[in-house]
Symmetry: C2
Subunit: 344 residues, 2 copies
């Protein structure tokens, strides 16, 4: 079951039913809590339809078209495509949530400084989307990492903390490095919406130049871009996968690059735990596609530092690290949780 629509610029967009959880929309359509979540990234837009039980029942993918119009069209097209495909009238949606990589005012639904998606000046995205979709469809906007940490908490439930005692960081390792923080069940956005910008903390004084103007930023060592630079992919496959495979095969240069990378990610984990003492750090972003070998390397790096320090050992850092679950679009799921009004 798949519908194909056209993206804003004519590029193909696809709407797909989830492998399981497919359901007859007419059955539960009156239940409260259906929502759409749209995760807007620099290259693609991924949207999901979440059922009232919080399960992904359908997803939609389209290339990003930069600029306010492209952003607005992506959101409204995804919402209509998902609901039409599921036979769910728009007015039955509890809401639409949008995660955007920029500075977001969740109260006004305004986005700015979203450079990667071509929105620099303030753009009232929520109001614009509501106007197109109809005023009875609430639209809420959140920073993408804040949405992702909500999605991660939803997707990686913690047996020790059932219910609402959710305490974690979502550490995104992609083009850049940044974190979303859910502290005691509440999003920590920060007083100037700059919480989690740990990618621009200095890891190596006097080290590599960063686009932010500083030197030695964590982002230069722990991002996917850092792997691209240190171990370029020879064949178009993702550089992190190529690097970790080469290291696993025993290439000593690859081992060195991998271990330095894992050290840098471990340093980011230490920043998050020694500052906020989050219960868990969920590693996501493109690099997390490496999977278990990444987790093993980061844990090994953390354990190596802890071996020299009873203090660090007492914090059990390696135990706190998790991988974002493969195949779960935590950003879009979190946006859908925002959309249905799980204000935290």
């Amino acid at each position: 079951m798949e519908t194909t629509t056209l993206g804003a610029a004519g590029a193909p967009a696809t709407t797909t039913a989830a492998p399981d959880g497919v359901r007859d929309g007419s059955r539960d359509a009156r239940a409260p809590g259906w929502s759409v979540g749209v995760d807007v990234g620099g290259t693609k837009v991924l949207a999901v339809l979440l059922d009232p039980e919080g399960r992904v029942v359908r997803s939609h993918r389209a290339p990003t078209v930069p600029g306010p119009d492209g952003l607005l069209d992506a959101v409204t097209t995804a919402t209509r495509s998902l609901t039409v495909a599921h036979g769910l009238p728009l007015e039955r949606l509890a809401g639409v949530g949008i995660g955007v990589p920029g500075v977001v005012d969740p109260v006004t639904g305004t986005v700015e400084h979203a450079v990667n998606v071509g929105v620099a000046s303030p753009f009232a995205l929520a109001a614009a989307a509501s106007a197109v979709l109809g005023a009875r469809t609430p639209v809420r906007v959140e920073n993408d990492l804040n949405a992702a940490v909500l999605g991660a908490a939803h997707a990686v439930p913690d047996p020790d903390h059932p219910g609402d005692a959710r305490d974690l960081a979502f550490l995104a390792l992609g083009t850049g490095v940044a974190a979303g923080l859910l502290l005691g069940g509440s999003l920590r956005r920060g007083t100037h919406r700059a919480a989690g910008e740990i990618g621009h903390l200095t890891l190596v004084p006097g080290g590599l130049s960063c686009t932010c103007g500083q030197r030695g930023c964590a982002e230069q060592y722990a991002s996917g871009s850092a792997i691209d630079a240190a171990w370029p992919s020879p064949d178009g496959r993702p550089a992190p996968a190529v690097l970790f495979e080469a290291a696993a095969a025993g290439d000593p240069d690859a081992v060195r690059v991998r271990d330095r990378y894992a050290w840098a990610v471990g340093a980011c984990v230490r920043v998050l735990v020694l500052t906020c003492d989050v219960d868990r750090v969920v590693v996501g972003g493109g690099v997390s596609g490496v999977g278990e070998p990444l987790l093993a390397a980061v844990r090994a790096a953390l354990d190596a530092e802890a071996a020299a320090s009873p203090f660090l050992a007492s914090l059990r850092l390696a135990d706190r690290v998790r991988l974002a679950p493969a195949g779960v679009p935590v950003g879009a799921v979190g946006a859908a949780l925002v959309g249905r009004g799980e204000v935290v």
Copy 2:
């Protein structure tokens, strides 16, 4: 007006009325909200009597006597001394709060790992003090930095955030380096009560050995102990004061040591803001006794880094830094706020 009592080990303890705010205890004794706060440090115990309006009306100081018995005696002696001197019956106290440098369970009032005050194993301090003072006197215990950040928020009100929207870090520069975090009006203790342990984040990879077992920890560069080591006092005066005076007088070595110190403190400020995006960072601890020259040096260090980075500049880090107010015992005041049940 001063009463002198004897500390637990026979050392002199003094109880002093505050220069202003002296009042006839019989007048307001029935008002709710009188409380005692006890700040237990490695060398001294400082206690205050807070009136219902949150003003310090009397203080008490005694040397620290290590161990559970010494801790208990310090708390009960201070409480009795302050209330007797003020003519306030114990049962009129809303409560007694105690700030202890260790791992504290605020629910059970148990203290452990308080190495500097000689309490290693779990000690049920709140229950023990209540038993001595009488069960009708509630006793609450909190980590000393958590108490201090409450005291700092109380003592340094923010005109931009009247009422309860209090968002700040208290950065203690003393024997070690650590922070207390008040995020959106709530204490952030951390899931393992390790929030704010930024003194053991690596500032200089491969740098100075730290007592924690790591190398290059922030504590080795930004603490008062770091100044003691780099610029020993020749005459028993506090090393930070001697260093900053020598730097102000133009001694090039002193300027270099001061600027490196300020850089390290600035790095701690960056960690706090880029991770938690706190609105303010209040610098306290022994080194803050230097006063304005310390603030100026830290702000200059932050501005120097921001000059190279529009991103850092946009965070306005230097503007966020404040000095803990001279003459206000923020630790004891915060403990008194804990004591009167300002649970956050």
